[in-house]
Symmetry: C2
Subunit: 344 residues, 2 copies
Amino acid sequence: MTLRYTPYTLEFKYPFRIAINTRIETPIVITEIECDGLIGYGEASMPPYLGEDQQTASDFLEQASKIIGEYKTPLDIEIIMARIDAVRIKNTAAKASIDIALHDLKGKLENKPCYSYWNLQKENTPFTSVTIAIDKPEIIIKKIEEVVAFPILKIKLGSEDDKKIIRTIRSCTDKPLSVDVNQGWKTKEQALEMIYWLRDNNILFVEQPLLKNDFSGSAWLAERSPLPIIADESMQRLHDLETVKNCFHGINIKLMKCTGLTEAYKIIIAARKNKLKVLLGCMSETSCAISAAAQLSPLADWADLDGPLLIKNDLFEGVKFVNGKITLNDLPGIGVKKLREEKK
Amino acid sequence: MTLRYTPYTLEFKYPFRIAINTRIETPIVITEIECDGLIGYGEASMPPYLGEDQQTASDFLEQASKIIGEYKTPLDIEIIMARIDAVRIKNTAAKASIDIALHDLKGKLENKPCYSYWNLQKENTPFTSVTIAIDKPEIIIKKIEEVVAFPILKIKLGSEDDKKIIRTIRSCTDKPLSVDVNQGWKTKEQALEMIYWLRDNNILFVEQPLLKNDFSGSAWLAERSPLPIIADESMQRLHDLETVKNCFHGINIKLMKCTGLTEAYKIIIAARKNKLKVLLGCMSETSCAISAAAQLSPLADWADLDGPLLIKNDLFEGVKFVNGKITLNDLPGIGVKKLREEKK
């Protein structure tokens, strides 16, 4: 097999403000693995806080391409990914791009959609939430109008204006909301007080209220919170579950954090055994990585796979959202078609 | 102290159909404990499936009155309740009536609302759901119109018409629903299939989908279900938690099952430590037992305290539901006033 990769920059429709910063674009890399004339597509999305960029990803993919070159087929994904993972500790997004491309290629070679490998029913997908980033009230109201078909909104909190933002949203919709604090609340007591205030506002769960290493604060909060507390930044890979399971009610699994579908599936199974809720999330990603994640979505309690909705320049066509419901197609692999080539 | 009790019959506004039967009334007993001219009120509600009736409750209260007579004050509720509990294994509702009356009396003697004993904030109460029992579509639609102010509806399922009922409800409201199956689904596979169907319908959780002793089926289901599975009939008292915690995502705590506020508080704390969701529920009860349960409600994730809304002949005035939010008053004890005497 041969591996190629191309850097690309995703542009947001709106400047994307969360608790810690505001961004207008996200660097990604598109990875292609070819075998017998078929191409499997993968993607690495690299928001700055992951500590990975196009240069480090390219360096990693250069090394990984030698390993991929040793294999004739993508069929033993577990074995290949174990070797890829061992190259370096980090580069989880670059690793995910390889894992996704291998899954896509395997599905194309065997003419099967990926969800069928885990015996999932495509009807059992959840709805996706759609993210409303922090913004001025008039912009928030405009954004909500744009996503009127989606039944669940995800709200970014963690600024001084949290209550004002929720009141603004509640002035125009009663839809259930999920709340993502991105480590933005200062103390566990402030967090608990805010959560009690939020509970009257039809909130599904609260993501990452406290700093990612504040496990004792999170455990204190999880024991008291009347809303489920979900780990995002605190939960990267499978081995984190041992700690996180005692401090949260659930976890946000993202392919870019956990090196792809192979490990994401293992995390979901382990989370279920520990009675943790499973949110399947994403970074800003094209329909490539999102369609890959969507293959696992029948196993998730909630999904937040709105990446393609937030960007202007998607490169792929794949999973659809029909009135918000994740809708898989019958195409093999991760179910995507490339719309156009990346401009370099 | 002296203990008195009076049997009474609660009449439903509508015949109340659930998976196993239809009822038009519920036998209760009102318990009063007097001390220094103050009266604490308590209540035992006895739906037939609890295995308790007015005769067995009266016999129990007759025995218990001797123990109550030995004490000058209700201040050591834990000690008194330990003795009451030891009289017989069963009679949990009669025991709850004593526990509630002791709490009410203690609060009146010390001029404190009960919630203050657990350091709870009265603002932190949840909303209550309101139950829509199984009925013909036109009656279901009429009932939904009657409870337009309540933001969460509880739907009784477990009949052949489950999907039809949900479709009927969804034809007139998008409100979040909780679902109570009352052991009505036949197999774990049928349950999982129904839950996947339900997940697209804005459902908060599913109560008691399988037979109360089917712990292996419930564990299988809890590991796979994309909606939280809550134990009701499977969970009676504190000692049940050891088993139930491995088979469900949460528990429905009812004073009538667990002998009152003393044990209910212990169950909530234990549930939180085990990351179980807490639903605070009720039988058909007057505002007496409901106002008692409401004192604990700031600790619950969800509440289903709609007893007084379903009956025609309440005897008390107490907790209010303001647009569905449980609203505690500042009266001492459980916060009730008796409206009129029971007709015997």
